[in-house]
Symmetry: C2
Subunit: 606 residues, 2 copies
């Protein structure tokens, strides 16, 4: 079963703005069609006819008009009113050029629990619709008063037995209730009129609130949409794959990037369904380098810090104002830039096939970055992540044009160092609107696997964190974001970024780096008193940790020792980590203490 | 039973920032003591001893150290580890100068369901604590593994029978489960070691998530804390009333205003418990006036608009650059100001006793605004609301110094008007951090009653709304706020404000105002097509509404007709409302359509 030829649609309710904003964003992201959400039409200054014409011009079909509520299984007087209401909406659909209407199962106190009556009245509605060339797609809401499973909606549709009446299946309504979607395969494909897709995190809350506020695009949540969609396609469904996602963040985010995020989610889903369109993600084998954009002051500060951390400036770029600092396999580029302070401007990963990595990224709507380089310089394949960070695909060791190291003139051999062997991970704070989008981007484009979302209470509010990593853990990117948009009063750093370096002996590295003058962060004694009470490390280890301001964590697989520099260039922090055994996390339990220490350091410096 | 002499405390977890920020804010707001939340201490650079000394200097007692988790009903080896952990925390408490430790019921997989074992081990802990001069307050978490009701925790404490072991009661844990708090009266007062107070909205969600993210200060949510606290005091509890509120918004808001909000909530609670400290809120009988601060351009625009709405400029202030515009009992002041555009600078309400209103406000920590006025001018009592808006207390008709109208020189008699008879309500968009604070402010300070919180999907994100009103509905203030902080991409108005005027005939007023040249907002035809389908007004009424761009709503009590001007001075909108029968709301169902129309108008003007 393939879904390569499925059309891709999106409900206007997924996006922020007026209907005009939404349609433009959907068309630009490459959608084939839209579901027109009634409230968007009602608030629009364009007439239904003008909306239809505008969609045509944009190349968007109108695949569904939705929702029509509280229709079926009612007393005769209510039925008469509901049929009048439906006819008026059929008028609108006629002007719009839409031929399928979503009718969702009733939540009305007027309705009665009578499947025969529901089927009879839906038959009547379908008859009226058919006379206007319209089809009715009946959907069981997860919180429908009497009809709230797809099996139940199918029994009613089968009983009604009208060719203009079929089902709308919505992955949220079905999977949120824990229903088994496998029986969808038993429904004749021609009775499946429409398919709405939404992912969601697993939340223990009222299903209506969960649905209205917390849906996500496929691949961002916890639902198995590949299996679900596979059942629907196996049943013979031939309509569009259409996204219907109610999400508080998307509702207020710029609809342009949100529509791209949505399209990427569908392409990713189609890939897992076996659609052959995308080149597979080449294997990644590590972080090649991290590039910091630095102004003149920050460059001095960063160079001092890197020297203190045991790095050596080993080369400079042949044509650009870029210096290469090395220690083992950890490579940091300092790129002189205009923007104030310091920022991680680029993440570079080792790819088995950089060109294929970039091609895949382009197919997944990642902006390809133009690179100015001389004819004899490496043609680094680069794309832009949602937060604007460049992502480079490299083969550092290769004897090819991808070997970016050849662009650097060696100025000095690498020094003795302080025990750093490579880059363990990067932690990048994401702009508020782009947290889920970023996780999907790294998952789909780079083929990294998202770990579960975690939250912790930082000194100035809750922080949400999600790490994406390749299966071997050699490429790790921790995405962080304030749970609420960062407020006005909170002092300190705009979207801090961390570069975490690997060491085999954190205590020795910390000692050596202090000798070298690294600007390491001091951790208060209370932390070690609490560590003693919580995890009771050996007294000699505890004393050494306290002495060196090294933080500690333990899980069922192993241990983590890690320490930090102060904030450099207003935004960048270096971290040094030692993993013992199979410790899986990034020491999130220590984040509030570390963040409070960073805040004190900044206050003291101010 | 009186609580006038109860001390007032706050848990540091209620407030944002580092421990230093939190203690300063608590002391400034007038709290007597604090609960030290362990995470705040662990992250602090001050030692426990220094924290204790600092609290002393600030006049704060340390009433509780919390929380100590997962202690009781465990196998012997775990017990040994837990006792070691407790002793280390007793050390910290000794240095801190805290004598009561909160132990919350276990959620650990190590624990077993054995009340005798729990009692025996808590007895042992209490014995160790007593040797250090420490008391143990045992609390049933609502999500405790085996112990999750206060009745159960009391059975265990009674069984343990140790003088250093008592109960901590937390209103959230008890009321969230729907437990009946009346039986608290049967617990001997000396076994009630601590009382934690939190309100919350009624939410259908996992109780742990509800507790950790959505608690509110007393008076902001749906719990009956007066009855609850009454039972605890009746039982003979003599400790502090202490707030423990986990809230995502407060966690990131400026702790100074948040601590004032917290203190106001406790003062309000004590008043409902019969504490005689506060002067009662004088009756309010209507809106005296609304004052707009306008720059020169906005003043021209506003004056034109007011003329179009049927207002007459009837006077000017004797000593200030303020013009009075009147129509019936609707009075608008235009105050020439420096700040760009137009804003509602002041809300003035008619009070039976303006001086008493201001005195009460001051006791409830509202900033009193200094007023510069000449000896022969009215001494208007004014305070500042959380968003900075001034609130005046007036007696417009009185033959006293409160009669502010006497400060205006009459320049012109009132004209024929356009049917406006007064001010129906004001709608003030609140800064994100201050929504719940504002509702409590108007409730406690002015004695207005909050109506339920509602939410609707505006074009650029969800909006939350709550109206506060006096019992007769003559003073109404609608508070609105974006559900998520307003994002970067959203175009348009910074925190819009609406002044809603009353008319007895909206259609006639709209017609007359159009003739007078009022800049009224056009409503798209789709709205009226949908209105026909939804509510089916009489065809002649529908046609008139459509003709005049008047919006319509209906509830079980009556009908609402209302229409709007465009946005004036970048922020201010006039609305004209006609209430028929007992219609209770403010037409929120029409807000998305109205907002989309305002956005179009601004886009067209840009």
């Amino acid at each position: 079963m393939s879904s390569t030829d499925s059309r891709r649609s999106i409900a206007t309710v997924c996006l922020s703005g007026t209907l005009e904003d939404k349609l433009t964003a959907a068309a630009r992201a490459g959608f084939d069609g839209v579901e027109i959400f009634e409230n968007d039409l009602v608030a629009s200054s364009w007439s239904a006819k003008e909306i239809g014409e505008h969609c045509s011009e944009l190349g968007l079909s109108i695949d569904l008009y939705q929702p029509f509520r509280d229709f079926e299984a009612v007393p005769p007087d209510v039925l008469a009113r509901n049929l009048r209401r439906a006819e008026l909406k059929f008028d609108v659909m006629g002007r719009l050029g839409a031929d399928t209407m979503l009718v969702c199962s009733s939540v009305s106190p007027d309705a009665v629990d009578d499947d025969d009556l529901a089927a009879e009245q839906l038959h009547l509605l379908a008859e009226r619709a058919a006379a206007r060339g319209i089809r009715i797609a009946y959907e069981a809401l997860a919180w429908g008063r009497f009809v709230n499973t797809y099996e139940h909606s199918w029994r009613i549709v089968r009983r009604a037995a009208h060719p203009a009446l079929g089902l709308c299946l919505d992955s949220f309504h079905i999977l949120s209730r824990g229903s088994d979607p496998a029986a969808i395969r038993t429904i004749p494909g021609e009775k499946l009129f429409f398919l709405q897709l939404a992912d969601a995190p697993r939340l223990q809350m009222d299903v209506l609130q969960w649905s209205r506020h917390h849906r996500l695009f496929p691949g961002q949540g916890a639902f198995d949409l590949t299996a679900f969609t596979g059942h629907v396609l196996a049943a013979g469904y031939r309509g569009p794959l259409s996204l219907e996602v109610f999400n508080d963040v998307f509702r207020q985010a710029d609809p342009g990037p949100a529509a791209v995020d949505a399209m990427r989610s569908l392409l990713g889903l189609q890939e897992t369904l076996g659609a052959a369109g995308l080149p597979p993600a080449p294997a990644l084998s590590g972080h090649a380098f991290a590039e910091l954009a630095v102004d003149a002051d920050a460059e001095v500060r960063l160079a001092e810090a890197l020297r203190g951390l045991g790095f050596t400036e080993t080369g400079h770029h042949r044509s650009k104002p870029v210096r290469l600092w090395r220690q083992g396999d950890a490579r940091i580029l300092l790129n002189s830039a205009e923007a104030p302070g310091a920022s991680v401007a680029a993440v570079a990963v080792e790819s088995a096939d950089p060109v294929a990595s970039a091609k895949r990224a382009q197919r997944l709507l990642a902006p390809i970055l133009p690179r100015s380089h001389r004819a004899d310089e490496a043609d680094l394949s680069a794309i832009a992540a949602p937060d604007g960070t460049s992502v480079f695909f490299c083969r550092t060791g290769a004897d090819t044009a991808d070997s970016w190291l050849g662009d650097f003139t060696e100025t000095s051999p690498e020094g003795a160092g302080a025990g750093v062997t490579g880059i363990d991970h990067l932690a990048l704070t994401q702009p508020f609107d782009h947290f889920d989008e970023a996780a999907l981007f790294y998952r789909a484009v780079l083929g990294l696997a998202p770990e579960p979302v975690t939250e912790f209470a930082a000194p100035f509010g809750l922080v949400r964190s999600r790490t994406v990593a390749d299966p071997s853990g050699r490429v790790r990117i921790a995405l962080e974001s304030a749970l609420l948009r960062r407020g006005d009063w909170a002092p300190g750093v705009r979207e801090p970024q961390r570069i975490a370096l690997t060491t085999g002996d954190a205590l020795a590295s910390a000692r050596r780096m202090r000798e070298l003058g690294a600007p390491l962060l001091e951790i208060p004694g209370n932390y070690y008193d609490d560590l003693d009470a919580r995890l009771a490390p050996e007294p000699s280890l505890l004393a050494a940790l306290r002495e060196e301001s090294v933080l500690y964590d333990r899980d069922e697989h192993g241990e983590l020792l890690h320490f930090f520099t102060v904030v450099l260039g207003g935004r960048v922090i270096f971290e040094v980590v030692q993993r013992i055994g199979g410790y899986a996390g990034d020491g999130a339990a220590n984040s509030p203490v570390r963040m409070a220490a960073h805040r004190r350091q900044r206050a003291a410096a101010a």
